[in-house]
Amino acid sequence: MIFSSAAFLFAFLPPVLALYYLPLFRNRPQTEIFKKNLVLCIASLIFYAWGEPIYVILMLLSIYFNFTIVRDMEHERRSPRRRKRLFIAAILFNILVLGFFKYFGFLVGTVNSVFSLHLPVVKLALPIGISFYTFQILSYVIDVYSGKCHVQKSLLNFATYVTMFPQLIAGPIVQYGDIEMQLRARRMNRRKFTAGILFFARGLGKKVIFANTIGAVYTEIAALDPDNLGAVTAWFGILCYTLQIYFDFSGYSDMAIGLGKMFGFDFVQNFNFPYAATSIKDFWKRWHISLSTWFRDYVYIPLGGNRKGTPRTILNILIVWTLTGLWHGAAWNFVAWGAYYGLLLLGEKYIYGKALEKLPVIVRRIITLFIVVIGWVFFSAESFPAAAQYLGAMFGGAGIFDGMTRYYLTANLLPFTLMSCSALGMFRSFPISKNKDLRLVLQALGYAVVFAISVVCLVSDSFNPFLYFRF
């Protein structure tokens, strides 16, 4: 199921919220939280099974296995060797499951083309969200092993952590440490719920009104023949994609955070106006924050981070970024995209970082944005050659203008400008009013309009893609 659908909003969410908040055990907080987690867990399983009726079994197996093996690990805490073996077994299990269901075809295909073999490729569909929930499970396993968190003795609580539908399919990737306490006791009050509603409405608007609209323009431009594509149109097209993927993904994260709040959970922010970044390092502190944090905490730092000398640091950075690219998809253009950023980060760190800092902020932002947009060409393309063709068009391969340039620019001027300003954070500090009460009322009214328009678009649009769904 996806959040931006009529089925989710008007058939799934109301009954789940109603059951969740039904005050059955008002006087027994322990039972109440148990009931809440139970409702949330079952609803989440239904939510997941809605999109993956068969692979829900895989997720359940993964949950049960990891729950058991970590309890086993704790049971053996007096024997560090056995504990370590169990830890490695758990990590291997998760990596092998993820590897098999997501990367097997890619691996076999690559081996086939490199060694000219014809090994059979087992074609299995990718289970939705497997990258997200596997990473969350790994976070739990590693946190308990390292002593950061206590073992979770309740299967229900652990299952709730993994399956929680607000963040199950598209993040943010919640580290176990951030949620451990909240599973047992979380604050649910009307302020939080209201904040949740506003976040959700904002996310819905970003996804349905902004992302879908500008995405339709990109799709049209991308379908044009690259040999007849003028540079201006090509640039406009990829800028539309740049906006689409931002609003798509950050919109979804906003909805996830909003829904989390409605159920009493506080998730960490996942996006922070990434297109206003002043360097690539800064960009990755603002884009898909939960992913880069996960890789930092669970791969980069355990590998030694930057504490083992320059050559090792370079290697660590390249490993982390290749894996980041690979996480996004089982294809070489994603690996290239990840490596692209890895190399740029190394460049910033060791070569031109200092020079970059001396430039005025606006120049740094433009350079960073330029680099990011080029990166998106590789990310969005079907293949390497397609990306190269599109780049060719962008740099004047087929002329500067083409027949449709003026139309695309003028027909989409208003939405494009509006969205660009929004993405750059220009509406952040809108001086609405000093009065907090009035501000809240105006915000609520504004988001009510956004919600209404979103519903209108949802119902009438057959075009409702979600780009980050291949994970």
């Binding site: 909003l9 008007f10 009307r190 509603i197 449709m404 139309y407 027909a411 119902v459």
Partner: protein, 395 residues
């Protein structure tokens, strides 16, 4: 610091924040809206089809284990929720209004011209397919050199109203394409539809504003051109135009999502009753004495009043005092053209190759044709894959 009196503002007790109360309103509002729409959804009865979208709507899917296991239940349920959403038509209209408000002038492949009319986007030319079709036509002409063969290729609204396209939008000038086709079909009599249409005083009346077809007036102008080339002996004054509806909202309006504009459909009939005929629909096994289906005026797609729609083969026998017989290959543009031909041919066999699966040689053997006419519009013709196989099946 000595004790100073705190500023006046701080001495007054702060006004109690109304935020908790506002939060209740927001929460109640949000939950209320969700519940209201959910209730409306279950209360309003399901519709079987949508008139304005001209399609069948999804009904509630059956909950079976196998439908759940392969995901079809879920997919159908989601479609069900959007298709049966309360006030769906109103929401679609509002959405189309919003899109136009923000500057979009193109929905799917329909464009809103500056004059408010809806225009179908041009179909990209498929060179290979086009060459094959032209080759087949030439081969057919060669094999049947004794028949008078004419070719009428009608331009579309996008060709005539190129100047009305939204700012910045440019479409190909297909005059060159027309000339190229004309040059390739050297053996056939070329009826220049573009020239014929240029003679009409009010070009706005040549195409419907909400549909991709040309109007009866445009068909008539081209009929006069055909009449001149084939010397059928028709006179303009012997034909009369009658409006049959003024509430026509065509295919373009459905695609675009806006039904505010309405068109008038006219029929063109010869004034004298020389035009009695019987039309026989082979695949439907029925005969009718009129080329107009009045029932179709009660449905959404009123253009089907002409001939009742598209059929594989229709045989029209008339009481015309002539030995001329006609074989007509067409797309839907010819439907309003047919009645004008009836006084000049004793038999007309109408074939729509997209639906025709029989062998053309049968048709050729059964009938002794004197004339052959190909009547197409550019958008359909440039990508048509069905004419060539049918022509080639004539042996």
């Amino acid at each position: 610091m000595e004790n100073r009196r705190p500023p006046a503002a701080a001495r007054r007790p702060a006004a109690p924040s109304k935020i908790p109360a506002i939060c209740i309103w927001i929460t109640a509002g949000f939950c209320g809206v969700l519940l209201l729409i959910m209730a409306l959804f279950w209360i309003t009865p399901d519709r079987a089809s949508s008139e304005s979208e001209n399609r069948v709507l999804q009904q509630r899917p059956k909950f079976t284990l196998s439908a759940v296991a392969d995901g079809s239940f879920m997919k159908d349920f989601e479609t069900y929720m959007t298709d049966q959403f309360p006030l769906r038509d109103g929401l679609i209209g509002f959405h189309s209004f919003l899109s136009e408000f923000t500057g979009a002038r193109k929905q799917q492949n329909v464009i809103r011209a500056k004059t408010g009319r809806l225009i179908e986007a041009q179909t990209p030319v498929n060179e290979d397919v086009l060459n094959e079709t032209l080759g087949a036509i030439n081969a057919f002409k060669k094999k049947n050199a004794d028949l008078q063969q004419a070719f009428l290729l009608a331009p579309n609204a996008s060709d005539l109203f190129a100047g009305d396209l939204p700012y910045g939008m440019r479409m190909d000038d297909r005059q060159e394409t027309l000339t190229a086709v004309k040059d390739t079909l050297k053996g056939l009599t070329w009826i220049s539809a573009s020239n014929a249409l240029k003679t009409v005083a009010e070009p706005e009346t040549l195409y419907y504003r909400t549909d991709h077809h040309w109007t009866t007036r445009a068909a008539f102008a081209c009929f006069l051109a055909l009449n001149q080339k084939w010397k059928l002996g028709a006179k303009e004054s012997t034909f009369a135009f009658y409006p049959v509806t003024d509430s026509f909202s065509g295919t373009l309006a459905s695609s675009y999502g806006d039904h505010k504009l309405k068109d008038t459909i006219e029929i063109c009939v010869p004034k004298k009753s020389k035009s009695t005929y019987i039309a026989e629909y082979a695949s439907q096994q029925r005969k009718t004495a009129s080329l107009f289906e009045k029932d179709k005026l009660a449905q959404k797609n009123q253009y089907e009043v002409f001939l009742g729609g598209n059929y594989d083969k229709v045989v029209i026998s008339t009481v015309a005092d002539t030995t001329n017989t006609l074989l007509l290959f067409k797309d839907s543009y010819a439907n309003c053209f047919l009645p004008m031909l009836t006084p000049y041919f004793s038999k007309i066999v109408v074939i729509d190759p997209r639906y025709f699966s029989d062998s053309l040689s049968h048709v050729m053997e059964e009938n002794d044709f004197t004339h052959v006419l190909f009547l197409y519009n550019l958008n359909t013709f440039l990508a048509d894959k069905s004419l060539a196989p049918v022509l080639q099946s004539a042996g």
